[in-house]
């Protein structure tokens, strides 16, 4: 790849607009904070720089990092959100508005934990098997939506949202009745054995070897969409369904597989949460992460290569919001408002002050 090709790959024309949108939203955030805070500038700066780790010289003359845990949170969330963003992106590229990432994540986490807790064979196989179980569970749940649409004409948005509820209840049922650790103070599974969980790379965080999963997944999805016949079928089906059918493309297969592959990635995100971030599965794992994946996919404008940047931005704002809440008088919800503003600005087909044909 030449340097020029590399630079257009990393900074496509759309990226400049996304960056401008981020800038405008951040400035708007400053104005918003000024309305509610006595020290708006400080709060704003903490929002922006809170997650940044700090290199400090200690009294004994050695250097050490401060606030690494917060930065670690950003990294671990980046992995989760990248996987979820891709999970939403693939069906979107086939023009399938499937919102099932949430349920697929829960079932993926559950499938991974089941294998992780039950596996008694060679220790090195525990993690790969758990990952496969997680991806299989998510993939099958995703395929279910696609098959229901193809066979019964069911609307994929309704079906996937309803299946989310079903999946979450299955998850709760399993943990409450079969996997519950009686010794834990709250309803949760036992801790996964060491052979089935990732060692943290940063102490007290969920940052692990799973960091590599985000770029690998992006690469895999980019290759899938750009370089395989299946990816071609998904793109053509999404771009022009009538044309795809007229040209004899297997439209139904592309539709179902796009949802199944999205489910595979959401399942992997569940695996990451169970085996790398939490080490066990609490029954009250919060739903809604799948929808953050939707926002990440929107922010990335459905381009795989932009997913990690979008996920990182999201995770950063979230951690910054928490830091701001802890040390100033501004609630973290401001960060949510900012995230929403960025989405609106990126999704706006044209800037209000510049007339360009969409």
């Amino acid at each position: 790849m030449t340097l020029a090709a590399m630079s257009t790959f990393l900074a496509p024309p759309g990226a400049r607009r996304a960056l401008a949108a981020v800038g405008v939203a951040l400035l708007a955030g400053l104005l918003l904070i000024a309305c509610v805070s006595d020290e708006p500038l400080r709060a704003w700066l903490i929002l922006l720089t809170g997650p940044l780790p700090e290199l400090r010289l200690a009294a004994d003359g050695s250097w050490h990092w401060r606030r690494l845990v917060r930065f670690g949170t950003v990294l671990q969330d980046t992995v989760t959100l990248s996987l979820l963003g891709l999970a939403v992106l693939i069906p979107f590229r086939a023009r399938q508005f499937a919102l099932g990432a949430d349920g697929q994540l829960f079932l993926g986490a559950l499938g991974g934990a089941l294998v992780g807790l039950a596996w008694s064979g060679p220790g090195w196989m525990a993690l790969p098997l758990a990952a496969m179980a997680a991806m299989l569970a998510g993939g099958l749940w995703g395929a279910a939506t696609g098959i229901l649409k193809w066979r019964c004409g069911a609307n994929e948005m309704v079906v996937s949202l309803m299946l989310n509820l079903v999946a979450i209840e299955i998850y709760r049922l399993a943990i409450m009745t079969w996997l519950r650790d009686p010794g834990a103070g709250f309803p949760a599974t036992p801790f996964l054995p060491p052979q089935a969980s990732f060692a943290p790379l940063i102490a007290n965080t969920g940052v692990s070897a799973m960091l590599a999963a985000a770029p690998l997944a992006v690469l895999a999805v980019a290759l899938l969409l750009g370089r395989t016949t299946l990816g071609y079928e998904i793109r053509v089906t999404g771009a022009a369904p009538g044309f795809a059918a007229t040209a004899g493309l297997p439209v139904g297969r592309a539709m179902i597989l796009s949802m199944a592959l999205g489910g595979v990635l959401a399942g992997l995100a569940g695996f990451h949460i169970g085996h790398a971030v939490l080490g066990r599965l609490p029954v009250d794992l919060a739903p809604g992460l799948g929808f953050e994946g939707l926002l990440v996919a929107l922010l990335a404008r459905h381009q795989p290569r932009a997913i990690i940047g979008a996920a990182f931005f999201y995770a950063w704002l979230r951690a910054g919001g928490q830091a701001m809440e802890r040390s100033t008088d501004v609630a973290r919800e401001i960060a949510l408002v900012l995230q929403a503003l960025v989405i609106v600005l990126v999704m706006a087909e044209r800037w209000p002050w510049r007339k360009e044909s969409a």
Partner: protein, 501 residues
Amino acid sequence: MSEQSVRLALRGLGKRYPNGVLANDGIDLHLARGEIHALIGENGAGKSTLVKMLYGLEQPTAGAILLDGCAVGFKSPAEAIRAGIGLVPQHVQLVPSFSVARNVVLGAEPARGGWLRHRAAARTVEDLAQRYGLAADPAALAGSLSLGQQQRVEILKALYRGADLLLLDEAGAVLSPDEADALYRALRKLADAGLSVLLITHKILDVLDVADRYTVLRRGRVVASGRSREADAAGLAAHIVGRALPPTVDAAPSAAPSTVLLRARGLVRVTGSAECLDNVDLDVAGGEILGIAGVEGNGQALLARVLAGMGQVALVPEDRLHDGVAPTLSIADNAIATSYRSPPLSRRGWLQRPAIDAATRAMLSEYGVVARGPEQPIGELSGGNMQKIVLARALASRPRVLVACQPTRGVDIGAAQFLRTRLLALRDSGAAIVLVSADLDEILALSSRVAVMHRGAIVGHFRAAGLAPRTLAGYMTGALRQPQAAARIDSLFVAPVEDTR
């Protein structure tokens, strides 16, 4: 006709789209108060563009629109509505769960202090309906009405907004004969009340039965106009379809047709409209082109879809932007849509980008497509260049049977000639071709045999050599039909007879 009574005048109106297509060229037209004027022409003749300009959806690139003698330039439909123009769309756009009255006032509801006044709306609508004889029950749900009644509601909607110049876009096309009659009686009442009506149509009978005057559009230009009373069907048909093309392409087949490659017997498809199939028999042999002529909407498009659905048949789809290409994807992605599954374009599920790139470049240069390169989105190309790729893709697989629908519609003359030459080359290589076209010149210039369709049935079958457009016109309108007409290769070419209905 005095100058004051002219409600609408067009002076040299023209529209050239950014991609170079000249849709309207120097259109002159007068519409007086109290007059029904029919604007007639085939699909693609430029009628829709003209309507869009009158209604503020498109802006003209040449000429002027005059209302009551004053030049106007509408930037949006809202401005056109304010100037008294009402559009009755081809497909009704009512809210089915709303009552007739609420549909009529939708967007301009009588209100007081933020509260809608439904009873006042119902009264106003009833008044309007009575004044113009457009019987409609204001309380009925729009969704429960017949198409003809819904269309009356659309007219009421336009009248409610103060329109005194109605544009009816193919209003009769979706109606049954009885409903169409009722619609036309209502239009006559409106005209008697002093309103002006522009009736956009491709039906000759609309001109003769309904309109006071007519204007014929063909390829974006006015080719004829006059009083309906002095017009006759055959003359109008000749204007609409035009004269024979200059023999720029050599249509004579290089060899006699060989074996039959495509055979259909007794095709039936019931749809409840004229777009149906009624016992269609046809054969196409290798080395010949069977032309399918007919007024649009008489089953030709359906026939093409049915034939193309049989497999092993390459297709040039009628609706290029919807079925022919994926406009947002690259030229390369579009070019490989029927061949990406096999080597060298893909191996074991992996696309071979260099091979795809090379194949696309070869296609672009062989067909003389003006484009930046294989990665350019195909939607940025002109209609002609886009169609070259659609045809190139269909021909790349060396098909034995090709169904080509409107292969040169909206394409400039140079590209059209190129595309026709390609079709003839395919024929000469021994393939069987079914050519569906609204352009009679094209049918006559390319075909070996011609079949005319009317209401889903083949009503005439002719040897193309020496055939005149005028002969076909009678069959296209349904005035003539051959008994037991079929496009079988052994069908006798019988003499036409008058329909005695």
